[in-house]
């Protein structure tokens, strides 16, 4: 895959930041607005598809740190499971932070209100953990599949694939 024209690359430079910020916004406001970890992570992973299409594979592969995103995925899943396990004093996935006054522990008024950012207990933590995991997971899928295509292209006209 070759890089596209300078117009596309300039537009990509301009809008990639908005895409990243919007994805992170959807993740960290998952307990207040529609969306959450899965949706925001998918938005941020779209950024990597955007970069891959605009800049071409060679630049993307040199830029993308697969080790870092592998760690993102592992740490996200572990934090998610760990937060679930920490509530095990009552039940698995018990929301032990909600309404306690500390981190994400502010009580919310009953009925319609404009939203309290520091509320909802473990839900916000789990949203961030899942967001981290989805960013890592979806961009790793993109990266590995692209490298698989390259492997096929470099093997020449014969369909040798991974056996060659």
């Amino acid at each position: 895959m070759y890089s596209l024209s300078v117009i596309v690359r300039t537009i990509c430079d301009v809008f990639a930041w908005f895409l990243a910020v919007f994805g992170v916004y959807v993740i960290v406001h998952g307990h207040l607005t529609p969306g959450g970890g899965f949706q925001g992570g998918a938005v941020v992973a779209t950024l990597f598809a955007f970069l891959l299409v605009a800049y071409g594979g060679k630049k993307f592969v040199s830029f993308y740190k697969s080790n870092l995103f592998s760690w993102f995925e592992t740490i996200g899943l572990l934090v998610f499971m760990g937060t679930g396990l920490l509530g095990l004093g009552t039940t698995f996935f018990y929301n032990f932070l909600a309404g306690q006054g500390g981190l994400f522990g502010s009580p919310v008024p009953i009925g319609p209100n404009s939203g309290v950012l520091n509320s909802s207990g473990t839900i916000a933590l789990m949203n961030m953990a899942v967001g981290l995991e989805v960013i890592g997971g979806l961009s790793l899928i993109l990266y590995y599949m692209f490298k698989g295509i390259r492997l096929y292209e470099e093997s020449g006209s014969e369909e040798t694939g991974h056996d060659g």
Partner: protein, 90 residues
């Protein structure tokens, strides 16, 4: 020609069944079994101090299901890595 007749018959039967089912379905916003929904809607703010009821169900009341979803994504990455790995079949 015979194929077309069979296709039309199947289409009529399918559309008829779907239409019959849809015309007998309960009204929108009027579920048959409501107590569970009402419990979430009226108690989630007091119990879990959260404004977004949908997120409170997904990540708190039904958190175990979300753990499965996250594990599915992890498994997808692992299987993509297995399929597109470098090297031969040894």
């Amino acid at each position: 020609m015979k194929k077309h007749v069979l296709f039309l018959m199947a289409l009529v039967i399918m559309v008829g069944t779907l239409w019959g089912g849809l015309s007998r379905i309960h009204q929108f916003g009027d579920p048959v079994i409501a107590p569970m929904d009402d419990y979430y809607l009226y108690n989630a703010q007091a119990e879990r101090s959260v404004n977004n009821i949908v997120t409170s169900i997904v990540f708190d009341y039904r958190g175990f299901d979300t753990l499965g979803e996250a594990a599915v994504l992890f498994t997808a990455v692992c299987s993509v890595l297995v399929v597109f790995r470098k090297g031969g079949h040894n």
